[in-house]
Amino acid sequence: MNKWKKKQPATIKRLKRPALSGDVFGGKAGFYLARAVTNIRQNVFVNVVTIGTITLALLIVSLFLLVYVNIESAAENWSERVQVTVYFDKELTGLDQNAFREKILALPGASRVSYVTRDEALKRFKVRLKGQEAILEGISPEVLPTSFEITLKRSHRDTASVESFVTALKRIPGITEVQYGEEWVRRFNSFLNFMRLLGALLGGFLVIAVVFIVSNTIKLTIYSRRDELDVMALVGATRFFIKAPFLLEGLIQGMAGSVLSIIILYGLFEGFLHNAGNFLTFNPVSSGLNFLPLEYIAGLLLAGALLGFVGSLTSLKRFINV
């Protein structure tokens, strides 16, 4: 109260409120908005606390989202390694290659098929043994098998789908030897499921905590101004008339909080997190963390506005007893 007192200017503020000319909606909406803005100006401290709380709360959620989104995309990259390889002990003719390619691509789940010739296989082998190429001296490409490398569609990279794909693959006449790193696929997928469960749990708790903290903060700020609610009710204000400016205020607080949290998150991201992600991915091409995608940012803005609005709505219910 005292803080406020000092700030009060000595001259009367010019009333900027538009005239309430009966039932013109625009006039009323303007009146409520002007009232909300006046309220914010007259209760600066309370509003700073509320907006700060919403900002921090949403910052925690958005940081979590940022990490989650990046782990998901890293997992996406890792899952590229879920690959099925079909080996042949002879070099295939162009016709044979095409025939197999067509049959394989006709199977559900197949995304890309590439043929690896004996020369190509030897080249890869050499790359893998870099520094010890001497071992391969005198070895001719004929020792190595040729192969088809099959990449699976995203939806078909879980353990069960991979297994059924392999079964179907083996039914194609001429295909006998199939390898797909069974153990790795299983481990990778169970790890992924564990991470998703953990993420959902953590995210759920976080959202509950945030809703709880924000709604309580708003409740306290409205509680501190309940005399205003009482006076308005006393002079015959309808519930809507009392509520509308508070709801708008909540909406403004929520939006301000979410915008601030996104700005801070972006600052943190640019400052620290941007280059910290190399450990998350095996694929050097896509190293580094990504910022939140646009739809997540829009979601956060909406969540902030909703948080402020609904928080005010539920709190008001408790204090308005007309």
Partner: protein, 230 residues
């Protein structure tokens, strides 16, 4: 104007706050409610502006049954009733002007009219020069006059006052009393709850005495104009 029929009220199961109250207050009357603390004065006033509903009985204001009003009708009732309290119930971080103007804004008055009417009533109360001060900075008497201005600015049919002079010195008491009388002369029905004997004796108005939730005594004064005995 105000009628109570067999009104009983109890806050919890235990003691009843009001017990079988029958009371009629005519249009333009000036009535003092008195009695010791806890006699039910405040409860009775709260019934009149719809802040409480009785457990049984009927409360009629200007022919309308308050006990049957829905929550959305209560605000409309309150627009014709001005209320002042011992603790003024002003918004401490707002100016005098804002505190009074709120009554008219709620009614949907235009800005220019709100300004004119508010300054007019402040002038009547003799505090127009302080219109831009925060109410916290005013003396008790001035604060009560702001509260009265807020209650009277839209010319209510009824003015209710709950211990309006409880926090004031004698000079201020007289000033407040004369404002009540002026409002009454202009046609407002006035009900003042107080246990200030001096205030009552000075004013020669109808007196209703409550004790333990019941009306124990009614005294009529010759000045009561169109009062009809219950």
């Amino acid at each position: 104007m105000i009628q109570l029929h067999n009104v009983s009220l109890s806050y919890q199961q235990d003691a009843s706050a009001l017990n079988n109250i029958d009371l009629k207050i005519g249009k333009g009357e000036f009535v003092f409610l008195t009695g010791p603390s806890g006699a039910g004065k405040t409860s009775l006033l709260r019934l009149l502006y719809g802040a409480l509903t009785p457990n049984s009985g009927q409360v009629l204001i200007d022919g309308q049954n308050v006990t049957r009003m829905s929550a959305s009708q209560i605000p409309l009732l309150r627009r014709s009733i001005g209320v002042v309290f011992q603790d003024f119930k002003l918004l401490n971080n707002r100016t005098v002007f804002e505190n009074v103007a709120i009554t008219l804004e709620v009614l949907g008055w235009g800005r220019a009219d709100v300004g004119k009417k508010t300054m007019y009533i402040l002038k009547q109360m003799g505090i127009e020069s302080k219109y831009n001060l925060i109410t916290q900075r005013l003396s008790g008497g001035e604060q009560q006059r702001v509260a009265l201005a807020r209650a009277l600015v839209n010319d209510p049919k009824i003015l209710l006052a709950d211990e309006p002079t409880g926090n004031l010195d004698d000079a201020n008491k007289n000033q407040i009393l004369s404002i009540f009388k002026e409002a009454n002369i202009r046609g407002t029905t006035v009900v003042v709850a107080t246990h200030d004997r001096r205030l009552i004796e000075q004013s020669h108005k109808r007196l209703v005495t409550l004790n333990k939730g019941e009306i124990v005594e009614q005294m009529e004064k010759e000045t009561a104009s169109d009062y009809q005995a219950p």
